[in-house]
Amino acid sequence: MKVEQQKDSKQKKIVQIEDLSVSFDGMEVVKHVNIEVNSGEIVGIVGESGSGKSITSLTLMGLLSKQAQVTSGKIIVDGEVLREADRPFDERLYRRFQGSRMSMIFQEPMTSLNPTKKAGVQVDEIVRLHTDLEKEKRYEKVLETFQAVGLKDAKKVYDSYPHQLSGGMRQRVMIAMAVILHPDLIIADEPTTALDVTIQTQIVELLKDINKSEQNAMLFITHDLNLARRICHKVVVMKDGVVVEADETEKIFMHPKEAYTRNLIEAVPSRLKPRISVKKESNTKVLTVKDLSVYYEDRTNSIFKKKEKQYAVEHVSFDVYEGESLGLVGESGCGKTSLSKAILGMQEHMSGEVSCHVSRPQMIFQDPYSSLNPSKTIGWLLMEPLRAAGILDKKCAMSKADRKAAAYDMLARVGMDEKYFHRLPSELSGGQRQRISIAQALITNPGFIIADEPVSALDVTIQAQIMELLQKLQEEMNLSYLFISHDINVVYHMCDRIMVMKDGRMIEIGETEDIFHDPKEAYTKSLLV
């Protein structure tokens, strides 16, 4: 997947960031950063969360919040010095560039559009601000651009409010907004993180096409190295506000100079690193699902009509064996969560048969931030499941001291220090929280665990740690997993077997290697891009 470098003679320097430092309340978060972007070039900034990627790009765009200060360096765009360390922020100067000569695509397509204005109007605004075109002309221009970014029914999109559009459509609207005035520079700050794999690919291809046809400069920010590799000509690796390494993409990937870069590349779950199978040969089933359907009652209908059933899961059957990990993949909304809820008996309307052969299966949720009760200490959180189990089943009843000991023990097993026992969840990092979340699920020794996208919200590096932990514990405790993810690479890394779902139906199930190397369904193939 090599990106051919545009060897264009007309290439000129669009962006020069020289020795830029930014600090908040005296704390430097961007330190002496140098980046250059030429026209027709896509430069990627990669690095773990909090490494200063967004701050750098926001500074470039002139959108830094008031608390931030530029302490050194300067920013030059198109030969004009926009920002200098000892010069106050010049709002007017920036406004000449913002929107017309440089524009930005933001990470969150859901919230980056004004929810109460029609999509078309919001795009129209940027044209209105920077050109003298008449209303009709502007309307046409917007429609054209919508079509150009792949929004087929442009007129309908024009009159839609953001909430009426899907995530991918919204991101396209954002892109339309960014490209409509053919700016010299487009900054894309993690434009696809919040999107589905399939849509992600489309958007990335779109950006690539735009770059090719418009020959503008593009700064592409991501924490996903694979993605950077697919799209960027050059890559800048950042860590803790410092540029660790910057070079042509392939050079970086093939011959990383720094250890950090190497780590980053290795942490990527790629199909180059398949799962080291821990599966013990066993035919004991821990879970049997037969002909399971889940539906929701459509609430939007009027009282006069009969309630309509909306099926989220239809006729799904499968088994999970002792000690195995079964992966479940599928695009957003295909019914993964509904299925897992049904298995755990948390679904109101369902038909079919679910029999679980271990007591009290547990679940690990996607979001580590919301799955721990924020008002309780870690110790309490770990002891509570034991207490509850003791009440339900007198045999499991433990004394308080025993519970405490078990909690400490579990804490150690998920690789956390004893000192965290008395902390609150808010005092932990995301990765640590997910560890506690796992610990809480495992402490009653459930045998079977459903993990609903347990790593999607986490950083690449932390992702790897957590997956490793899950595998380690699986081995130690002879656990079975139903592992849900939309990221097929993650599943590949984790699972013995994979099940693919689409629109509530199971379309394929099989051994990991089989699915990967010999997918039967077209849809599965599309996931493997």
């Binding site: 929107g99 524009s103 969150e108 601000l129 909430h163 954002m174 009282i303």
Partner: protein, 320 residues
């Protein structure tokens, strides 16, 4: 459609509950209208006669049903207590129709004041970057909010009425006589009602705007090259107004309640005072209709707020 039906059902349900509650309350509280009218000096025969005239000799359930039946047919009954210039008791409709404009004008005037003052104030406050001004606004609104409306009424009476002689305390001018004089007089009671609410609303709007300004779409707007004013008025204000609209809706209910007290302070012949005095004289027909009316207005306002919300916020419009 379903929304409308549901709202109307709720409304009817609530009005029914409220009317039953008021009726029941009047059955259990001591004192009755006959004694209230006749005082200590009446003959028992006269009491019995009056009781019969007013229909109070019938059992309560029957009375309630016939009252409800009348109301459903648009007949709001007559006051027990007030007689009219013709040979009959004062119809509740007319009685209330007489007092209603006073309260209505008062409420409208205060509401207009609240809206006209608080919204620019809130926007200005949200816009102002200076920490000093921010603190001044903050302290000022906190203090204003802490002043109960009757105390404010007393202060206004004392300051503007007695010391500065800007208006005649108690010198209420009927709206039939002189509309300008009437409005000028209402100005001061309206200020007493409005001032704390202006502070509250301005504060609320400002907070709402600040919250809104932290959202991603604001950054998007800036990235398009909008100036601060364009962002504030073109993007933020409308979205920030949404919670403010609910707030203003609640405010109308509060203004109605608040005017009961303020009418007392300024001796205004509005429905608030009529309500209090009618409870005092146990004039059930008047009280029932007044309570129904006020409840209706409150629910109706909430309803309007709901509708407005739907108009302004496309998200809600869609989801229903």
């Amino acid at each position: 459609m379903k929304f409308l039906i549901k709202k109307i059902c709720t409304l009817i349900m609530t009005l029914f509950l409220v009317s039953v509650a008021a009726f029941l309350a009047f059955q259990v509280i001591p004192g009755d209208v006959v004694r209230s009218i006749l005082g200590t000096e009446a003959t028992p025969e006269r009491e019995a006669q009056l009781r019969e005239e007013l229909g109070l000799d019938k059992p309560p359930v029957e009375r309630y049903i016939s009252w409800a039946d009348d109301v459903l047919h648009g007949d709001f009954g007559v006051s027990y207590r007030y007689s009219k210039n013709m040979n009959e008791m004062m119809p509740v409709k007319e009685l209330i129709g007489d007092k209603l404009p006073v309260t209505l004008y008062l409420a409208v005037l205060s509401f207009v004041m609240i809206v006209l003052v608080s919204i620019p104030l809130g926007v200005l406050w949200a816009k102002c970057g200076s920490r000093f001004l921010d603190a001044v606004f903050g302290v000022l609104t906190q203090v204003t909010m802490a002043v109960p409306s009757f105390f404010l009424g007393i202060l206004v009476t004392y300051l503007c009425g007695i010391v500065l002689k800007w208006f005649v305390p108690g010198g209420y001018i009927s709206y039939q006589e002189n509309m300008t004089g009437f409005l000028a007089y209402l100005l001061f009671p309206a200020i007493s009602i409005a001032l704390p609410k202006i502070a509250m609303t301005a504060r609320f709007l400002r907070n709402s705007m600040l919250t809104e300004m932290k959202l991603d779409y604001v950054r998007t707007a800036y990235s398009k090259g909008c100036s601060k004013n364009q962002v504030m008025f073109g993007h933020v204000l409308k979205n920030a107004m949404m919670p403010v609209i609910t707030f203003l809706g609640m405010m109308i209910a509060e203004i109605l309640a608040g005017s009961i007290v303020v009418e007392q302070v300024f001796a205004l012949p509005g429905i608030g005072r009529l309500l209090i005095s009618s409870v005092g004289t146990r004039d059930l027909p008047v009280v029932e209709i007044l309570i129904l009316y006020i409840t209706f207005v409150v629910i109706f306002v909430y309803f309007i707020v709901d509708i407005l919300y739907r108009v302004i916020d496309p998200r809600i419009r869609k989801s229903e």
